[in-house]
Amino acid sequence: MVEQAEAAPRARDPRLAGLRRIAIVPAYNEEESIRRVVEEIRAFDRELEIVVVDDGSHDRTSVVAEECGAHVVTLPFNLGIGGAVQTGFRYAFDNGYRLAVRLDGDGQHDASQLDALIAPVLADEADIVVGSRFAERSGYQSSRPRRAGITILAKTVSMLVGRKVTDPTSGFQALNRHAIRLFAADYPHDIPEVEAVLLVHKHRLRMMEVPVRMRERAGGQSSIGAVFAVYYMVKVLLALFVGLFRRNVSPLEDTK
């Protein structure tokens, strides 16, 4: 992966010139995969800064990420993916980044596909772009029971927002400053992506899905076990339902 970076740099979109941009990488016990994730992001774009949010890992995730030259924010204990990712958005907001991408620390998101995610944001066609593994059904498609769960959530979410959403649980995303401001102020707990789709819709931000291929996780363990999955489905469906009746929280304001 590093060799790739040292070869001739690929032609970057000219709109990226001087644009402060950051990759947010939530990681929980990912010491085996975090180095590769950081190196792949760097190979994709050297000017893309990287913040690894270590969600209270018990292993050397923070140490390894720091060795790789990423900014590292280490949470004092495990907040869950929602709290960890929002920490990344707050970091991006506080430090004035105009573009953020999000990749998981387990290596299932392939940084070389970030171009497809970033393009619609740069063209101002969307405020948030989500990489969908089901839009073209290629790459790792997740296990069968999990896929069934995702289908139920996708159907529900599509109905609620009145638009087809194929992969509401994907954390492979690109966001502009509007979306960063919103998520820095208000982001769902636990496993946030599904509820975030509704949140984005209610705030009238533009969301778009682009097809991506995902990989099977490179190391570590998924945060979702079988019992938890059932609980999670019930919780998310409840949250989606209640979310319809909720007042919006104002996004954080830029000071200047």
Binding site: F77, H189, Y231, V234, K235, A239, V242, F245
Partner: protein, 116 residues
């Protein structure tokens, strides 16, 4: 058989519980995670108070012969125990995290003072 008045009062109370919990989630005073057990409690109690013959049958199973609504109280008590137990674990976790936060904050302040 359960007196009709008891059924009506119990059903009303269950609905009230559900409405209050829903409103608390909506206004963000209660997280979904902590609301779920309350909602299950409300739904089960509502179900038992409306399904009057069912309450009778269940009373028979557990040997309550004189006064079936006693089963309602028993079930309500059981769920309240569950909620309390769940909250005890939650409080324990919060206390642990609070300790960690206080320690980290104090160490951080100490480091800042040393630099000043």
């Amino acid at each position: 058989m359960t007196p009709l008045t008891v059924s009506i009062v119990a059903a009303t109370a269950s609905v009230a519980l559900l409405v209050v919990v829903f409103e608390m989630i909506r206004s963000r005073r209660l997280r979904e995670r902590y609301a779920l057990l309350w909602l299950v409690t409300g739904v089960v109690l509502l179900f038992l108070s409306v399904w009057r013959s069912g309450l009778n049958t269940i009373a028979g199973w557990v040997g309550v012969t004189g006064y079936p609504p006693a089963v309602l109280f028993a079930v309500a008590t059981l769920f309240i125990l569950l909620v309390l137990l769940d909250y005890s674990t939650v409080i324990s976790k919060l206390a642990d995290q609070n300790t960690v936060l206080a320690q980290r904050l104090a160490l951080l302040e100490q480091r800042l003072r040393d630099r000043a």
